[in-house]
């Protein structure tokens, strides 16, 4: 290779060696022949042209690589344009890529020729592969040829409704490019931006906001409808997008919300960590409590809440963006949380430190308290670069107060000795500032500085002189000694600023040092001609002042100095001399002014303010370039002041129906939700709207979504995974159509929608007596009417794997003439009865019809492979006693688990409580009293029973969130005049929600849950239990598990997830010979797993 480099070098002249270095390693191996061919630059290009025209891809590739090398080097390769552009249609991906690189660089210069390539891109824009579409759009929009503006516009429009979010992202980028090429297109582009802003993909969000900022930052109205969505998506947007969105939202919030600062002092609203993930419903309540003073708009709070976790981002820019958001938007009491994260960034690279320190410097001026606890983090290290040291010093000075000044001064003393003299000088300045700001230490500082005057280093001394001068000016009363001392120093100090400062001091206070001053003037008059201009001016000043106060002694001296000044080289000094002479030396022309000369020269001068250079920087938004430069950068967007009255918050209410429909219309397909939209967004949005769902729901939602993603990134439509997800989805869906309704109604309406979607809904659905046992998913698929796996999701049905498995399943089921699990799902309740004879459905009465609809609506709105919670197949009849009538003074209560999912929010286990009055009097007002719950547990109370007739009994339902533990929930059951302590302890089987999944998915999941997460046992199975039907029945009866279709007769699989955390719980029963069976449970929640194992064992082994 080095050999090749040589041959280049010899032949191609000066420039070539570098090129050889670049090109040789990549190109050398395959084109040895090419090297001999060129001897000059033009020849070389000839050679490249030949290679580009060759039929071999490898030759073309090498040529392109060399050309790219030239571009990288900044050499002109434009004359190769015709030869290169021909290869734009090359089949070889790499050649193509390099040609793209070339085009982007030179198309602008060779517009006519560039047009040759356009058709290729247009073709590629229709390519089935999204990446090719995207890259075609990228190049097309990057080549900056004005003629193709219409084509670009068209391409952007088309791409903005592309199915692939990646292409849409590129479309958002293209918007900016087109705008910079042709600002005339603004209106049309805004339309596209508007459309893309509605996009729910996290991939697009950052880019489109970027485009918004560039094209139409003033169109704040476009944000209204998307505000909440953006807030909710924020955590999942890629880091760069986060930065842009946060900055934009900061600006937005400043126009839309009222200031949280004005009333800061009396705002009672407490901010605590716990409350962070609580639902907005609760938040609202809290807000209501403090309404008397100031109520933060819930949207405002939403923004603060959703940005806070980003403080833990690894990306310094994101952290800084959040910090500035809190600085500009949060109530003052809350802004403190950002300081810790900012201090963390100080461990990062030098450049990051530089910017962060600048921002901290600005912050620390206004709110010292924020950074005071981190004082020591700003201590200077000997290895810091000077600029970092100076900034740290700046911050330390800002933070100085009475309490910490002594420590700081000690620290400063070390800094003064630093070998970095620039820094030492800065330290002296800092000491000066501390001295003026904190009166207690002024004298100490002054003494310290005077000590420094004897320092050997000249810069240190000079700086001290300057600072002392400033200090003395602030309190000139009693410092004759210091001035004398300084006058003595004059002989040794050579730094002009320092000399000038001393002279000025002596002149200003010449009356305090009457003996020394004339002497100083005498000395300086001698050296006048050798002094720096700065010093000369001060000598003149001194002379003038002395002349006025002590003309007897100094008259001649002054005139001598003035004469010297008259013939000085510098016109400044000549000017000054003339001016002074006219003013002080009385003659007939001087007129009235000379009378006042003394007043003019010896007027009381205001002391200089020693201020931080960061004092006024905060009128720039923190974290911006303008702030760093302390001047407006182009494109800086002003942060507006808070409005006095908040604009109508209703503009942010979303009636999003159109957006979804629009998509549907555009795509001409059923809307498939983008996977990315889900992370945290939906469920939280829901929180905003309906306070009914618990906050924790969102957590499980997001959790399951993520799991979902792991499963099937291929599965585009993993729109909604768990029931919680579905419910929230469905709600938000329906929000689109009907803005505000009760959740029940909302769900209903949604169910209707879903009905329309399902093509052939079997009619018996409506007639099925107990809706609670039927999942809507099965309805959805009842068009197929047989296989459950199909029902799982529309998208899934496309998968041949599951389809076949289900077929197989069916077959076996038929063979055996026993209902397999699939059948179980599909069976009408009538058919179902024989299997689950013991099942009574006592709950039916309690279930409202709307609930039925709820359940129907549940799973249709989205589809996913796993985690789709099915309704239970079995309702256990076993009731537990809660309150015996003896202890309950005639009131008795029983409960059982209804296995009715999602009655009270996702984490609740529904419990039916039957209360019976065995007395002969009415019992009034039965309700739940005081609760004694373990940490985290929650109870959704039943509605109080107003009156229970003698002998009557009423069934009510309540929900308990057991937090996936078998701990007892204790509470008081109260009547009008009594209360009884009661307990509910859940069997472990009731802490689960059944889940449907295919065998394949089951195995996959199981594969991930081995090791510690697996518990197993071998059990002896009672002979009567060995049929699959019985096993299913028994297992399902014991625990709320969903049946997974199984390809093998001897293996039965069940799946569920825990109610609270949504962890998967996979149960496998494998029948072996000699009536034993292997029972395996895989779950993350190992404790529950092992308890469940213990409970299932006897179920199967006993008759």
């Amino acid at each position: 290779m080095s050999g090749n480099g040589h041959s280049y070098g010899e032949q191609a002249g000066e420039a070539a060696p570098e090129l050889a270095q670049e090109a040789a390693p990549t190109t050398a191996p395959s084109v040895p022949a090419a090297f001999g061919l060129f001897s000059s630059d033009t020849k070389k290009n000839e050679d490249l042209k030949q290679m580009l025209e060759s039929s071999k891809d490898s030759a073309k590739l090498d040529a392109m690589k060399r050309i790219v090398g030239m571009i990288a080097k900044g050499k002109n390769a434009s004359e190769l344009f015709p030869a290169v552009v021909k290869n734009v249609a090359s089949k070889n991906i790499e050649i193509k890529k390099l040609v793209y690189v070339y085009l982007m660089r030179y198309a602008e210069e060779q517009q006519d020729l560039a047009l040759l390539s356009i058709s290729t891109f247009q073709r590629a824009l229709k390519d089935p592969n999204q990446l090719i579409r995207a890259s075609a759009l990228r190049v097309l929009s990057s080549i900056r040829v004005p003629i193709i503006v219409p084509i670009m516009m068209l391409a952007i429009k088309e791409a903005s409704s592309d199915l692939s979010p990646y292409v849409r992202k590129n479309a958002a980028h293209a918007i900016q490019k087109l705008y910079s090429l042709d600002p005339e297109q603004k209106e049309m582009l805004i339309e596209v931006i508007e459309k893309l802003l509605k996009d729910r993909s996290t991939l697009v969000a950052g880019s489109v906001v970027m485009a918004f900022e560039e094209v139409c930052p003033d169109r704040i109205d476009l944000i209204h409808k998307n505000y909440r969505k953006l807030c909710n998506l924020l955590v999942d947007v890629e880091e760069w997008g986060q930065v842009v969105i946060i900055h934009m939202l900061t600006r937005y919030a400043r126009t839309q919300f009222v200031s949280p600062w004005k009333t800061d002092d009396d705002v009672v609203e407490e901010y605590n960590e716990n409350n962070f993930y609580e639902s907005d419903g609760e938040q609202k309540e809290k807000d209501r409590n403090v309404k008397k003073t100031y109520t933060m708009d819930p949207d405002h709070r939403l923004l603060l809440r959703n940005t806070k976790p980003l403080l833990q981002s690894r990306n310094a820019a994101v952290v800084m963006a959040v910090a500035q958001l809190y600085w500009h938007l949060a109530p003052k009491s809350e802004a403190g949380i950002v300081s810790k994260s900012l201090v963390r960034l100080l461990r990062s690279n030098r450049e990051v430190q530089y910017i962060v320190l600048q921002n901290i410097a600005t912050m620390s001026i206004q709110r010292k308290g924020m950074f005071e606890p981190y004082l020591k983090s700003f201590y200077v290290r000997s290895t810091d670069p000077t600029m970092i040291k100076t900034l740290k010093l700046e911050i330390l000075t800002n933070l100085a107060n009475e309490a910490n000044i002594s420590t700081l001064l000690r620290e400063f003393q070390t800094y003064v000795k630093s070998q970095d003299k620039q820094f030492a000088a800065a330290t002296i300045q800092a000491i000066g500032r501390c001295a003026t700001n904190i009166t207690e230490v002024t004298d100490t500082c002054l003494n310290g500085l005077v000590c420094l005057l004897s320092n050997r280093d000249e810069t240190v001394v000079a700086e001290s002189v300057v600072v002392i001068k400033k200090l003395l000016q602030t309190q000139p009363a009693h410092h004759g000694e210091i001035i004398k001392h300084m006058a003595k120093l004059l002989d040794n100090i050579t730094v002009p600023v320092a000399r000038a400062s001393i002279l000025w001091l002596i002149g200003e206070y010449c009356e305090r040092v009457p003996k020394i001053a004339p002497d100083v003037l005498r000395k300086t008059a001698k050296s006048f001609t050798n002094e720096d201009d700065l010093v000369k001016l001060q000598i003149l000043n001194l002379g003038a002042k002395l002349y006025l106060t002590n003309s007897k002694q100094t008259k001649l001296l002054t005139q001598y100095v003035l004469n010297l000044g008259k013939y000085d080289q510098s016109y400044d000094i000549r000017d000054r001399t003339r001016f002074i002479r006219q003013l002080i030396v009385p003659n007939e022309k001087s007129g009235a002014l000379s009378k006042y000369a003394k007043k003019i020269f010896l007027a009381q001068k205001p002391a200089p303010l020693l201020e931080s250079p960061f004092k006024d920087r905060d009128h720039f938004q923190l974290g911006t370039l303008s702030h760093t430069l302390n001047s407006r950068a182009t494109g800086y967007l002003e942060l507006s002041d808070w409005p006095d009255v908040a604009p109508d918050p209703a503009v942010r209410n979303v009636e999003v129906a159109e957006s979804a429909k629009e998509w549907t219309a555009i795509l001409g397909k059923t809307k498939k939700e983008k996977p990315t939209e889900k992370f945290y967004s939906e469920s939280e949005e829901e929180e905003d709207e309906s306070a009914s769902t618990g906050a924790t729901e969102s957590e499980s939602g997001s959790e399951s979504e993520k799991e979902d993603k792991e499963e099937g990134s291929s599965d585009e439509s993993s729109g909604s995974s768990s029931s919680s997800e579905e419910s929230s989805d469905s709600e938000s869906d329906s929000k689109e159509s009907t803005a505000k309704k009760t959740s029940g109604a909302v769900k209903e309406s949604n169910a209707e929608e879903s009905k329309k979607k399902a093509k052939g809904i079997s009619k018996n659905r409506n007639t099925s007596s107990s809706s609670d046992t039927e999942s809507s998913s099965s309805e959805g698929s009842s068009s197929d009417s047989k296989s459950v796996s199909d029902s799982r999701s529309d998208s899934d049905s496309g998968k041949s794997g599951s389809a076949t498995s289900s077929k197989k399943e069916e077959k076996t089921a038929q063979d055996r003439k026993t209902p397999s699990k699939q059948d179980v799902f599909l069976l009408d309740l009538d058919d179902f009865y024989p299997v689950t004879t013991p099942v009574a459905v006592p709950t039916a009465a309690v279930l409202s019809p709307s609930l039925t609809a709820d359940l129907e609506g549940l799973s249709l709105s989205g589809s996913s492979v796993i985690d789709q919670v099915t309704t239970q197949v079995f309702v256990p009849t076993k009731t537990h006693e809660m309150l015996h009538r003896m202890t309950g003074k005639g009131l008795s209560a029983h409960y059982h688990f209804s296995r009715q999912p999602d009655m009270f929010g996702d984490h609740m286990v529904p419990v039916q409580v039957t209360v019976t009055n065995t007395t002969d009097q009415k019992i009034e007002n039965i309700h739940i009293g005081e609760k004694k719950l373990p940490l985290g547990m929650r109870i959704h109370e039943f509605n109080p029973i107003e009156c229970l007739e003698p002998g009557g009994s009423v069934t009510v339902s309540m929900g308990i969130d057991f937090c996936d533990s078998t701990q007892t929930a204790s509470f008081q059951l109260c009547t009008k005049d009594d209360h009884f302590n009661v307990n509910i302890q859940p069997p472990v089987g009731e802490l689960l929600l059944p889940v449907t999944m295919s065998e394949k998915d089951f195995k996959k999941e199981q594969g991930m849950l081995t090791g510690m997460n697996e518990t197993s046992a071998t059990i002896a199975v009672a002979p009567q239990n060995s049929t699959s039907l019985v096993i299913i029945e028994k297992v399902v009866k014991a625990a709320n598990l969903g049946v997974v279709p199984s390809g093998q007769d001897n293996i039965h699989r069940f799946a569920a997830k825990t109610v609270h955390s949504g962890s998967l719980m996979l149960v496998t029963v494998e029948l072996k010979e000699s009536s034993t069976a292997q029972l395996i449970i895989n779950t993350e929640k190992t404790v529950i797993g092992s308890v469940l194992l213990r409970e299932l064992k006897p179920v199967l082994s006993q008759g």
Binding site: P25, S313, A317, V352, S382, T383, P385, E710
Partner: protein, 477 residues
Amino acid sequence: MIHSLFLINASGDIFLEKHWKSAVSRSVCDYFFEAQERASEAENVPPVIPTPHHCLLSVYRHKIFFVAVIQSEVPPLFVIEFLHRVVDTFQDYFGVCSEVMIKDNVVVVYEVLEEMLDNGFPLATESNILKELIKPPTILRTVVNTITGSTNVGDQLPTGQLSVVPWRRTGVKYTNNEAYFDVIEEIDAIIDKSGSTITAEIQGVIDACVKLTGMPDLTLSFMNPRLLDDVSFHPCVRFKRWESERILSFIPPDGNFRLLSYHVSAQNLVAIPVYVKHNISFRDSSSLGRFEITVGPKQTMGKTIEGVMVTSQMPKGVLNMSLTPSQGTHIFDPVTKLLSWDVGKINPQKLPSLKGSMNLQAGTSKPDENPTINLQFKIQQLAISGMSLRPQPIPQLMIPIRCIRSSFIQTRGPPESPCREVPGERRAAGHQAVPAGAEPAQPRPLGAGDPDHEEAEPSQRGGCPRCSRGNAEACTQ
């Protein structure tokens, strides 16, 4: 956003330029050179330099300036962070990020840059995705490419960008599934002459090397999560899970990545495991000075201190030093006046010391203060903060966890000592490998790595972004 990028080497040559919008003339860099001239050292070049029409934001790493040209308002950290990401990517691709490497791989560099930014806005910055788009060069691939004429560009288009887990590519397969977690801790301390600690901070990171098939979802928890005061995560970590349960739950990227970095709060309780005894004196009259330092262990909990390195910037007046070390090697550079002493391991029975005399320039007065001493060291298997991971079995495989901790300290003269002969010392403490997965409930899986695996320090160091920082000497690594 980012308009153009120029790479400038130490001697002031622009050796690579890339434009994302219309080309900006390289003459814009003249402003940069001006600033460079004004700053005495490369580290002092301001990261933000305004020019009449543009603004130059630069990052200095590996002796290369990465200068981004921007034209309009943009958060400066955004650009700086991105530039650092670019450097990290190069490092990831080529092993080292040097001028020679970049020149050698200019096409790959160009392609990578092309993918990373679109119109100046970051597009794909996750190394997993990039590597799928553009394969990093390896010797094997170069050979294969030569023979077959194929290239570094991925044949198959990546799916990762489009997946919901943007940092992980799909279809990862390993025959040996393994995951390593290194805990590295650094103490950064300033100690005064008398040995009392002025400040001490513990900063830790967990670096992971995960080679697992498929889409694993891992959880990690800490024995003592309360120790962690402030944490920052790789984007793969779920914030909410951490908030609520103090558990790290994540789908890891493939390969090496930094899972989290943390800060340990209990600042004053840090026991620094090393001490330095010093006796440095200059005399006004004579041209000779005495120099003696001894390093010894303190509170090391029975571990050996390794990789001890003492450096000190001597005052300008020192002409030469004649020193004798009891162990290790020392170098004094008379030009930069930098004394460095590579001590190696500390043997508690026989403490290493460095003694001798200094020749001072005749006629100059003695220096104001004694030099600062920086000290770096490593201790394997020791957690300065006491932080430890709880082993979490992963399906079918055990994860051997190696923990490496390190720490280091800076000492400095005491501010108020009346005599000025205060040397500062800065020490760095080292690395420990702790098999945190100590109680494997299951047999170790096939191919699982050595749990006690010790990190190859130099390479780690190379990969450590801190080292390229201005205050690199401040860190142990």
